[in-house]
């Protein structure tokens, strides 16, 4: 076991997959010599060369569209979108093409590819370098969506994503890149897609989270623990396909559910979680399924006061826990 930052684990995951399978390639803006604007691909171009780590022009639809073609012809592309906020020019290719190829060919043609993108706020990224984008993509049948929260998972889930037969959107919270560290085994391992994990067991109330919000939820749970509130924290890890069992199992046990997400509240991913819980755990609920999320304004202003105002925090989540616990 070694201690790795979040971004190191991602980089190692890519390196390992490039080494393991010659079909794996990386393409994106500045992924080569520069190693990516966050250095996620640092060193990979030097090791694998121009054919496997490809600096593309500044054209997201091309990055995704050409990856689809490359996947149809035997490769397994890992496409980097420099910031999640810049994925929208590629929306049509992702939704209409990558995610539908298998269905529209009744299984004949498949698109095994990973799209990596740094998302999330709290880094002075302003309106267009801070967004959460999972809501748009979790609505798309045929696409898988992964958001890891620990270095261990980041590496293990990335490897599973690369080996998966379907397109996977793999989102990395950029605030975690260097601030989150954890143990990562030296050898080969994977973490399966579609499995949530209970990060903190508890009896009174379940907090559902993913990405950075898992850490904030755990911190919030610690804060309220001192006040006698015993929270369970579930880390979804894969947003689609959703691990209903872990989700519902936890809520049926605790009877209360708070969903925490950084994105805008209205039609954010937490809406689906809340709707499922409300419908399928109704008989077990001792209080309303609650959501704590970003305000319904564009995410998020640059000015630090306004950014703080927008972002969730352990304190804000703790307040929401207290309110629901007191119900």
């Amino acid at each position: 076991m070694a201690i790795r930052t979040f971004i190191e684990a991602i980089r190692e995951g890519m390196g390992d997959e490039l080494r393991r399978d010659p079909a794996v390639i990386i393409l994106g803006e500045d992924v080569g010599k520069k190693g990516g604007v966050f250095l996620a691909t640092d060193g990979l171009w030097a090791e694998f060369g121009d054919d496997r780590v490809i600096d593309t022009p500044l054209t997201e639809s091309m990055i995704v569209g050409a990856s689809i073609g490359a996947a149809l012809n035997g490769l397994r592309p890992i496409a980097e979108i420099q910031f999640a906020d810049f994925i929208f020019p590629a929306f049509n290719q992702i939704l209409s093409e990558a995610a539908r190829m298998r269905y529209r060919t009744v299984g004949g043609a498949t698109v095994p590819m990973v799209i990596r993108a740094p998302y999330g706020g709290g880094v002075h990224g302003a309106l267009y370098h801070s967004q959460s984008i999972e809501a748009f993509f979790t609505h798309v049948p045929g696409l898988k969506v992964v958001i890891p929260s620990t270095p261990y998972d980041a590496k293990g889930l990335l490897r599973s994503a690369v080996r998966d037969e379907d397109p996977v959107l793999y989102l990395e919270h950029k605030k975690m890149y260097r601030s989150v560290r954890g143990e990562v085994p030296d050898g080969e391992y994977t973490v399966p897609l579609g499995r949530a994990v209970v990060r903190r067991p508890g009896r009174q109330l379940t907090v559902i989270a993913y990405g950075l919000m898992v850490h904030y939820a755990l911190e919030a749970a610690e804060r309220v623990a001192g006040e006698g509130i015993d929270c369970e924290v579930v880390d979804l890890r894969t947003l689609r396909p959703l691990d209903r069992e872990t989700l519902l199992g936890s809520v049926r046990k605790t009877g209360k559910c708070l969903v925490a997400y950084e994105d805008n509240r209205f039609m954010g991913y937490g809406a689906e979680i809340a709707a499922i819980v409300a419908e399928e755990a109704f008989d077990y609920l001792d209080g309303p399924v609650s959501r704590i999320a970003g305000p319904d304004t564009p995410a998020m202003p640059y000015n630090h006061i306004l950014e703080d105002w927008f972002m969730l925090s352990p304190a804000k989540i703790a307040d929401a826990i207290r309110k629901l616990a007191a119900y």
């Binding site: 390639i25 054919d51 496997r52 593309t56 022009p57 054209t59 639809s61 091309m62 995704v64 569209g65 050409a66 990856s67 689809i68 073609g69 490359a70 996947a71 149809l72 012809n73 035997g74 490769l75 592309p77 020019p89 049509n92 290719q93 209409s96 093409e97 539908r100 190829m101 298998r102 269905y103 529209r104 060919t105 009744v106 299984g107 004949g108 043609a109 498949t110 049948p141 045929g142 898988k144 998966d164 037969e165 379907d166 897609l193 579609g194 396909p241 959703l242």
Partner: protein, 353 residues
């Protein structure tokens, strides 16, 4: 002996007749699809009529099941030329379970064939150009000597994806050919309102690639342009843009009434560019066709169309329970099916709807 016509194209006489046969077969199948539509047996038809000369000429130099084609909804003759069969095309027209393009999931005209390297086409236009470019990239990286061809109309060529694709193909000198079948209209919008230049080919220079204009009624001219482009691509010379000037002999689709926006004179002019009689006349003059050969071919084509129609008409409908299939490779990744999901193999539950 080889005719002068064939020799000039570097082909055998038999090739020219085979090309003509493909063109005529495409036309006959296409016409049958309209008959099916007008008689209420097919809710939708979209046609290649007028485009077939360019399609056959351009597809001919491709290596079957090796090179790749990303076609569009008018590519009926292209698909026949690269090996799809009349039965396969009719299964798609009837949206039957065994339709190799999509198992009846897509509208007719949305071609695709995994074994034949025909990339499944969707409805949003122009996206396929990037798939072909990506296929060419993979061919280059993997050291395969495949060429990838993308085809679309001139209206579609204005989409942003085309710019991004041509730029990338040019940078990496990919084994890629971009074919624009320019029929002067995007549904009702005439070329002057959809294109800032008369010739799409004049955009090629901006991507560092040759832009070639061919007359879609000159089947062998189309063939030569394509052969040169494919050879150039295969030998590492990089991409080419080929613009074929064609005519749309039908409405945009069975849902369109083109007399509303095209004058009779315009339609009349269009009909003078029908590649079928022009190519036939060329082969007659060269001595490759005569009444007896044409009679044999016509009978053969007619039999193929009848067979394909009857075969597709009789083919099985998809099982309604199959609607949930192939969203993901692993069915466990599916969301729970709808409450009305029928059992496998049951017939459609007509009561509920």
């Amino acid at each position: 002996m080889t005719s002068e016509l064939a020799a000039a194209a570097g082909l055998a006489d038999a090739d020219l007749v085979a090309m003509y046969r493909t063109l005529a077969l495409a036309r006959a199948l296409d016409e049958r699809m309209w008959v099916l539509n007008r008689s209420g047996r097919a809710p939708f038809v979209i046609s290649g009529q007028g485009h077939e000369g360019a399609q056959v000429g351009i597809a001919w130099p491709l290596r079957r099941d090796h090179d790749w084609v990303a076609p569009f909804y008018r590519s009926i003759a292209t698909c026949l030329a690269v090996g799809m069969t009349p039965r396969e095309l009719m299964l798609a027209q009837y949206a039957k379970a065994d339709d190799p393009s999509s198992g009846g999931r897509q509208m007719p005209g949305h071609y695709g064939h995994v074994g034949r390297h025909v990339v499944s086409v969707s409805s949003p236009v122009a996206t396929q150009i990037l798939h072909a470019v990506g296929i060419a990239l993979a061919a280059k990286i993997r050291g395969l000597d495949q060429v990838a061809v993308a085809i679309m109309g001139e209206g579609s060529s204005n989409q942003g994806d085309v710019h991004e694709a041509l730029n990338f193909a040019g940078i990496h000198k990919l084994p890629f050919v971009f074919v624009v079948e320019n029929n002067g209209y995007a549904i009702s919008v005439p070329w002057e309102r959809e294109l800032s230049v008369r010739d799409v080919a004049s955009r090629a220079a901006g991507y560092g690639m040759p832009g070639v204009i061919v007359d879609g009624t000159d089947v062998l001219g189309c063939y030569r342009a394509s052969r040169d482009a494919v050879e150039r691509a295969r030998s590492g010379g990089g991409p080419t843009l080929i613009e074929a000037k064609v005519t749309r002999l039908t409405g945009h689709s069975s849902d369109d009434q083109q007399t509303k926006y095209r004058s009779e004179a315009d339609l009349e002019e269009g009909r003078t560019h029908d590649p079928l009689p022009i190519f036939r006349e060329q082969l007659r003059v060269a001595g490759l066709l005569d009444a007896s050969i044409e009679g044999v071919l016509a009978a053969e084509i007619s039999a193929l169309v009848e067979d394909a129609t009857a075969f597709a008409e009789a083919a099985a409908e998809p099982d309604p329970a199959s609607g949930v299939d192939h969203v993901y490779g692993d069915p466990a990744a599916n969301e729970p099916p709808p409450p009305w999901q029928p059992a496998r193999g049951s017939v459609a539950d007509r009561v509920i709807s």
